[in-house]
Homo-oligomer: 102 residues x 4
Amino acid sequence: MVVLEFSIFPLDKGDSLSRYVARSLDIVDRSGLDYRSHAMGTLLEGGFDPVMNVVRECFQALAADCDRIECSIKFDYRKGRQGRLETKVASVEEKLGRPVRK
Amino acid sequence: MVVLEFSIFPLDKGDSLSRYVARSLDIVDRSGLDYRSHAMGTLLEGGFDPVMNVVRECFQALAADCDRIECSIKFDYRKGRQGRLETKVASVEEKLGRPVRK
Amino acid sequence: MVVLEFSIFPLDKGDSLSRYVARSLDIVDRSGLDYRSHAMGTLLEGGFDPVMNVVRECFQALAADCDRIECSIKFDYRKGRQGRLETKVASVEEKLGRPVRK
Amino acid sequence: MVVLEFSIFPLDKGDSLSRYVARSLDIVDRSGLDYRSHAMGTLLEGGFDPVMNVVRECFQALAADCDRIECSIKFDYRKGRQGRLETKVASVEEKLGRPVRK
């Protein structure tokens, strides 16, 4: 399973981007994949093709009316592991011996 | 103010990284800066120098016993804005008309 | 057209990664897309689907025998622009009034 | 030594960014550090503090008149290794048994 983090935004629509980020989050939220959103991007968990397909749909939703788009993606694949949106931080907290801000 | 997201880990210590991530989160947690941790990294908010200084301390804490270290950093600077660890997602939810998973 | 930059490597095979990077560059080199490789990653130019398909093939070639894989991707889409692997730097050099190291 | 790759640009100045990228490359070029520029960013080699200081100077040069700035940074530290702007790709070519496009 893959934990993928991405952010995508237009570069030709000024610096008020929340309308465009909302367009992507709507797609993420309806995808059926487990996800978490934060101030710098969105995390998804799933197989390689399902998570990349969400990125593709977000790109296409922006490309409909944006002429320049920037996107950054990072993923971490670990064979046979699931539920890592929660367990990765929990495992760090266990090593640390105390909870962290989430 | 800067919202910075980063992840840092050794490449020469196998694939069980939570012990090393805990070392960084301990530094982040004690830094006094506002932060959030998630499955793919940590967000910090502050001035450019304070947030970069935290990254530097995390690097040095790993370089003490790790011979190869990978780090990725992304930041978003917005003049005069504070509290964006919360307000960026809230602004997207407002456009979307419903809450998202966080 | 998209200019995409990516790097992909296993996390469970020690810190000597050139064998695994070679596996990806072989795929990139045979893809027929225009590309450039550098010390931190590879640039590709093409449509969204062709460039993402190369990333997918590189992932699958590693997933065959690697249990943990890290990947970072960044892309810049600009409607109707082609040849940007060269023209982006050339345009900066023109503004700068002198050549830079490439 | 660190090989660091970064890109930095304003988000409030439209989508013609080469003027702003030129401002950063001027700083990089005058820094005395070894570097390479490509279509998606700039590579630097040096100690942690010298390379991060170049990023800091580029940030400050933009923050002088830009109200929103995006930056992504990736670095690879390897104890005791130097000259990796060239040797990393050369090592991959050796494994591959043929040259790649650079």
